[in-house]
Symmetry: D2
Subunit: 384 residues, 4 copies
C-alpha cells in the first residue's frame, strides 16, 4: 500500500486539543505520514501559543504560518482569512500532501479548505454537520461543501451532512477525538496545583474545597456587545463568591471587547474569588474540569467533553445553539441573576453519569484508519 | 421605506453579461442604490477588460480591485482568491453596503462571499443550486452556505438549495438575468459586421452565408490537458472548413494551456476558416449566437441563452455536466471525429423552438424588487 | 495656480503629533487639499488609537488602512510592511494625489514610499538625514533615496541628505513641525489632572509636587532583550520612589517583550509611585513634559521637543544614537544604578533654557508653502 | 571556520545570467552553502521561465515564490513588490540564512532587501552605485541604504556607494559576474542554429551572412508610451531589411504596451527580416551577441557584456542613462531615422577591441571569497 502524506492545519488552541489523538494516530499508522501546520492564533503568545505543548507532546511542526491581522472589527477576521488562503496555498504547493485536514468551524478554517480544494488536494473535514448560531454556522457548512471526506461526531451531524448532498460513502460518524482525551483522564483526584503550575493572575484562591471553571468566548456576530455579555458572567461569579478559575478567550473579532471587559472588571472590582489563566495543557484542563463543581460560559467543552465526563454545565447565550446536548447542560441567557441561579441549581445536583453522545474514546484511531484505507478523491457533485 | 445600498461584485466578463439587467434594475429602483465593484480578470486587457462596456452601458464603477496573480498552476487561483478576500474586505468596510451580491460559481466569487459574510453584511447569491463537475461545483455550493438570500434560475436549482438546508422563504426562482438580454435581442438579422467592429486576428472569413461560433474554456481540475482538449476542437473546426468565430477563453489556471494550444495551432496550421476574438459586447455576442448555425465548446451560454434563443449547441466535455438542458444541446467528449459529426448533425436540424428553462426575460427587475422589499439578515441556521 | 492634492500617511501615534501643524497648514492653504490616510498601529486600540484625537482636531480621515500583522518576531514587521505596500498602492491608485508625504523612519513608512514612487507619484519625505542606531537608520535613508522632495529638521540633516546625492534644490531645512506644537504650549501651569482626564492604571500618585515621565520603546534589532531593558528602568524608578507617569510603548516587534516586562513588574512589585497611561493627546503630553522634573527613556521627544522646552532628559540606550542633542540631555546605558544617578543629577539642575535646534515653531506652515509652490517631480538621478 | 548559508534571490531572467558564476562559486566554496530562491517573473512561462535553465546548470531550487500580480498599470508593480515582501519574509524566516543576496535594481528587488533587513539578516547588494534614469534609479540606491555589504562593478560605482555614506570597508569593486560568462565564450564561430534550437516565431531569416540582435524593454516611468517607443525600432529594423533576432521584453508595468506594439506590428507589417525569441540560455545569447553585427535596444548587455566582447551597440532612449560606457556604444533617441543611421554607422566599423570596464571575468569567485571571509553584520550607521 502506498504511503499517504496527511497535512493537518491547526489554527487555534482548542483545535489542537480536538485533534491531538488523531495526530498521534496518523503519526503511528504505518501507511500515513503526518505533516503538521501550525497557524494563526495558535502561534501567538497573546492568545496562548501552543507550540511548546505540541513539541512536548512529541510532534514536529512542519510549517508555521503567521497570518493574524490586528484590528478592532470583523474586517480583520476577513483579512486574516484571506491572508491565510495565500499563505496556506504556498504551504500546500510545497508540501504536496495527499490530503489536507481542516477542523470544525473557526472563521479561518475556510482558508485551509480553499487553499487545498483549489489545488485539487483531497480535503478532509472534521466535525461538520453540527449546528450553532453565528458565523461559525456558515463557515462549517461551507467547509462541508468544499470537503471530499467527512468525519462527524454525532448521529445528528451524520444525517445533516448527507442531507446537504454529500455522498453517504464519504461521511463517517467516528465520534470526536477530543473525547479520546477525556476518556484517558485519571478521574481519581486533581494531581497538580493549577496556580503553582500555570501562574496566571488574580487572587490565590482556595480551590481545594471545590471550584468553578469559566470559559466565555465572544460571539462574533454580536461582537460589540461582547463586553457587556462577559460582565453579566463576571458579576454573577463575583457575587456567588465561590473560588473560580477563569480562562481568557481565544482570538476573534470581539476578543478585545471581552478582554477589555475582563480587564476593567478586575481593575474596578478586584474580585477575590477569581483566578485568571491564559492557557493550560489540554490534559490538565480536562482534569480541572473533571473535578470542578460546574463549567460556566459558552465553551464547546461543556457540550462535548463534559457530557462524557459527567460535569455539570451552565451554558450561556447562543454560541452553542442547537448543538446536541447531554443532560448535564442547562442553558441561560446573558443575565446575571439567571446565571447565578443556574450555577446554584447545577452544583446542588453534583457529578452526573457519563454520556457518549460525542464519542466513545476511540475516535482518533478510527479516523486515521479510514484515511489510510479509503480512496482519496477531489471531484464530487451534489447527490440530488 | 429606507434606501438600500446594494454592492454587486463583478469579477469576470461573463458575470457582467449575466447581471447586466439586474444592475439596471437596481439603479432604476427608487429604494435601491447601486455600488458596482469591478475586480479580477474583468479589469485586465489580457482577458478582455469590460470597463469600457460597463461605462458605455451607463454604469459608474465604484471601486476597481486588481487581484489576479500570475502563475501556471492552481496555486495562483488560490492566491488570487485569498488576495481577493483581503481587498474586498477593505472595499466593503469602506462602502458599508446593506447587502452584497456574489454571482454564480467562478473560483474567485467565494472571496466576495467571505469578505461580506465575515463582516456581517447580508450576502445575496445569484445562480446557486446548479450542478457542474469541477471546482465550480464546490465553490457554488459553498457560496450557497455562506449566503443569506438566494436567486436561482431553474426549478431544479430551487429545490436543491432548499434541500441543502436553506430557508425556503429566502430562496427565489427568478430565472437568470442573462435571459433578459437574450429576450431583448432583435432576431431579424445580424446588424453589424463582427470583423469590422471588433477586429480580432486571423483570416477575414466569409461569414455572411452562415458561420459557427466556438467558445471553449479550460476545465480547471484537468488544466494540464487543457492544451490537448482545445486541439480536438481546433482540428474538428479546421477540417470542417465552415467559417467560424472563435472566442478566446477567460482567465483560469489552465488559461495558458488553452491559449498556447490556440496560438500554436494558428502558427502551424494557419486555419483559413477561423477568425479569433478576445471579447465582444454581450448584446452583439447574443446577436452573433442568434444567427449562427451552431455554438460549439463548453460555454454556459450554450445551455442557458441558446435554449431560449433556439440555437443548436454542441457541448464538449464535462464543464456543463448535469446542468439542466434544453433540446437544443448535444453532448460530446474531447474527440475530433465526434465533434465533427455532432456539428454536422446539429446544423442539419436548423433553428429550434425557444424554451424558457432558465428564465422568461424579466429576471433582473424581479430580483431587484425582492431585494428592495425582503428583510436583509445575516444570521441563519441550517433548517434540519 | 493649480490645486494640489497632498496625501499624508500617518502610521503611528507619534507620527501624528509630528505632523499635526503641517496637516493644519495644508488644510488651510488655498492651493492645497489634504488627503489624510490613517494606517497601521494608529488605528489600533491596543497601541492607543488616535482616530478620536484626529477627528477632535478637525481633520477628516480620507482612508483607513488596517495592515498590522500579529506576531512575536521581526517577521511580522516585514509582513506588515509588505501588506502596507499592497494596501497603500490601492489607496494611492484611487486617490490620485499630486504628492504623497511619508514621515520619518518607522519600519512601515517605507511602504508609503514604495507605493507612491512605484506609481510615479512625487514623494515627500519629512525628517530625513538624521542618524540613529537600528533598523530605523536603514529605513530613513532608504526613504530618502525613494523621495523626490525632502524637509529636514536640522542643519546636520540637511547636509547629510545632500551628501547622499540628493539635489540641493529639493532639500529644505524647515525645522520639525513637532516643535510648532511645543511652541504653542502655555507654560504657566499644568491645567488638567492627568489621572482624571486619562484614567490609566496603577496607583493614584500624588503628582502635584513634582513628577517624572517615562517613555521607553523597544529597540527592534535587540527585541529579545526588550524585556530586560525595560526592567532596569522600572526598578530604577521604583527605587527612587518619585511619582511617575509611565507611557506604554508603541507597536514594534519587541512590543510584547517590553509590555510583558511592564505587566509582570506591576503584578510582582505593585509599584506605588507609578501610574501608567496608554495614550495622551499630544498637547497634553507636551504640557505634562513641560512641567515634569525629568523625562526618562528613549523617546525622541526627549531629544526634540524637550530641547525647545528646556526639560531635563535621561536618555537610555542606543535608540537616539547620534541624534543632535541639546544640553538638556544626559545619556545612560540600560543600568539601574546609572539611570537612578542620572535622574537625580538632572533633577538637581531644574528647568533649562530653550534651544531651537529642531525648529523655531513655524515649520508646518513653511513646509506647506513650499509644497504649494515648488515643482513636483518623480524622476531624479543621483547628483554625482 | 563556520559554514555560512547564503540565500540568493533571483526574480527575473536577466538577474540569473548576472549571478550565475556567483551561484557556482558559492556552491563550490567549502565554507558556503547555497540557498537559491527563484521568484517573480523568473517562474512564469509568459516571460520565459528560467527554471529549466537553472536545473540544467546543476542548481537546486530551494524555494519558489509566485508573486507577480497582473495589471495594466504601475499599481500592479507596487502590489507585486508588497506581496514579495510578505512571501520572502516567510522564506527567510524558514531558511534562516546567514546572509541574503539581492541583485541590482529591478523594482521587486527591494522586496528581498526589506524582508531580509527587517529580520536582522545581513543583506548583500550586487551592482549598486550605478546610475540610470527611472524607478530603477530609486530602487538601486534604496537597496544600497538597506544593505550591509556591497559588491559593485565599476570604479565609478564604488565611489558613489561610499559617497552615499557606506563604510568603505563594506564596499568592494569586484566587477560584474555577468562578465565572467562573457569571458568564457568561445569566440570562434556560432556553434548552433538559433532558430532550430529555440523555435521562436516569425520568418526563418537567413542569419548566416550576418544579423542584428534587438532587445528593448519598456521604460516604466513612461510606460504609456512604451508602445510608440518600440514601434520606432520595429520600423527602423524593418526598413533596413537586415536579418534580425528580436527578444521579447521581460515583465514590467509597461510590458503589455511593448508586447502589444510588437504583436500589432507583426500582424500588420509581417516583417520578413525579423525572427522573435522569448528566451535563450545565457551562454547562447552571449554567443549570438558575439557574432552579431550590432546590438540594438536598451538592454544593459549592450553596456556591460558588449564592452567586454567588443560588439557594437546602438543604445536607444533613457534606460541606460549615465551608465559608464565603452567606446562600442552609440546613443540615440526613440527616432526611426536616427536609429537606422546609427545602426549603419556601427556596422560599418565592424568588431571593436575588448574593454574591461565592468569586470575581468573573475568576479563570481572573488565575491564568494569575500562573503566567506568578511564579518557579516546587520547594523550600520551612515558615515557622516
Amino acid at each position: 500500500m502506498e504511503l499517504r502524506n496527511i497535512c493537518v492545519v491547526v489554527t487555534a488552541r482548542p483545535s489542537y486539543s480536538r485533534v491531538k489523538t488523531l495526530l498521534s494516530a496518523i503519526k503511528e499508522h504505518e501507511n500515513l505520514e503526518l505533516q503538521l501546520v501550525v497557524a494563526g492564533s495558535a502561534l501567538l503568545d497573546r492568545y496562548g501559543s501552543i507550540v511548546n505543548f505540541i513539541e512536548k507532546d512529541g510532534f514536529e511542526i512542519t510549517e508555521r504560518v503567521f497570518m493574524v491581522l490586528e484590528g478592532e472589527n470583523p474586517t480583520s477576521m476577513a483579512k486574516t482569512t484571506g491572508l491565510g488562503v495565500m499563505e496556506l496555498a504556498n504551504v500546500f504547493y510545497k508540501l504536496k500532501p495527499d490530503a489536507v485536514v481542516t477542523i470544525a468551524d473557526r472563521f479561518e478554517t475556510i482558508a485551509t479548505s480553499i487553499a487545498a480544494s483549489y489545488q485539487n488536494i483531497p480535503l478532509i473535514h472534521i466535525q461538520g454537520g453540527e449546528v450553532t448560531g453565528n458565523i461559525d454556522e456558515k463557515v462549517r457548512h461551507a467547509n462541508t461543501k468544499l470537503a471530499d471526506l467527512h468525519f462527524v461526531s454525532t448521529e445528528d451531524a451524520l444525517q445533516r451532512v448527507i442531507n446537504m448532498g454529500e455522498d453517504p460513502e464519504k461521511v463517517f460518524n467516528t465520534g470526536c477525538p477530543s473525547i479520546d482525551i477525556a476518556a484517558m483522564i485519571n478521574q481519581e483526584a486533581l494531581n497538580f496545583n493549577p496556580i503553582e503550575k500555570y501562574g496566571g493572575v488574580g487572587e490565590a484562591i482556595d480551590w481545594k474545597k471545590g471550584y468553578l471553571v469559566v470559559m466565555q468566548h465572544p460571539v462574533t456576530t454580536e461582537y460589540e456587545s461582547a463586553r457587556e455579555d462577559v460582565l453579566s458572567t463576571l458579576e454573577a461569579i463575583h457575587e456567588l463568591g465561590i473560588p473560580t478559575f477563569w480562562f481568557w478567550p481565544n482570538v476573534d473579532a470581539g476578543s478585545d471587547g471581552t478582554s477589555n471587559g475582563i480587564r476593567t472588571f478586575r481593575e474596578l472590582s478586584k474580585p477575590k474569588n477569581i483566578h485568571f489563566f491564559k492557557n493550560m495543557e489540554s490534559d490538565d484542563f480536562l482534569k480541572l474540569l473533571t473535578h470542578s463543581k460546574c463549567l460556566i460560559g459558552n465553551s464547546s467543552a461543556g457540550i462535548r467533553e463534559c457530557s462524557f465526563l459527567g460535569v455539570p454545565v451552565v451554558n450561556i447565550g447562543t454560541r452553542q445553539h442547537r448543538r446536541q446536548r447531554g443532560s448535564n447542560v442547562v442553558d441561560v441567557p446573558y443575565h446575571k441573576e439567571k446565571i447565578k441561579e443556574a450555577i446554584q441549581e447545577r452544583i446542588s445536583k453534583g457529578r452526573l453519569p457519563s454520556e457518549a453522545i460525542y464519542g466513545d474514546g476511540l475516535s482518533g484511531k478510527r479516523i486515521a484508519k479510514i484515511i489510510a484505507n479509503t480512496p482519496l478523491t477531489f471531484c464530487k457533485t451534489i447527490r440530488y
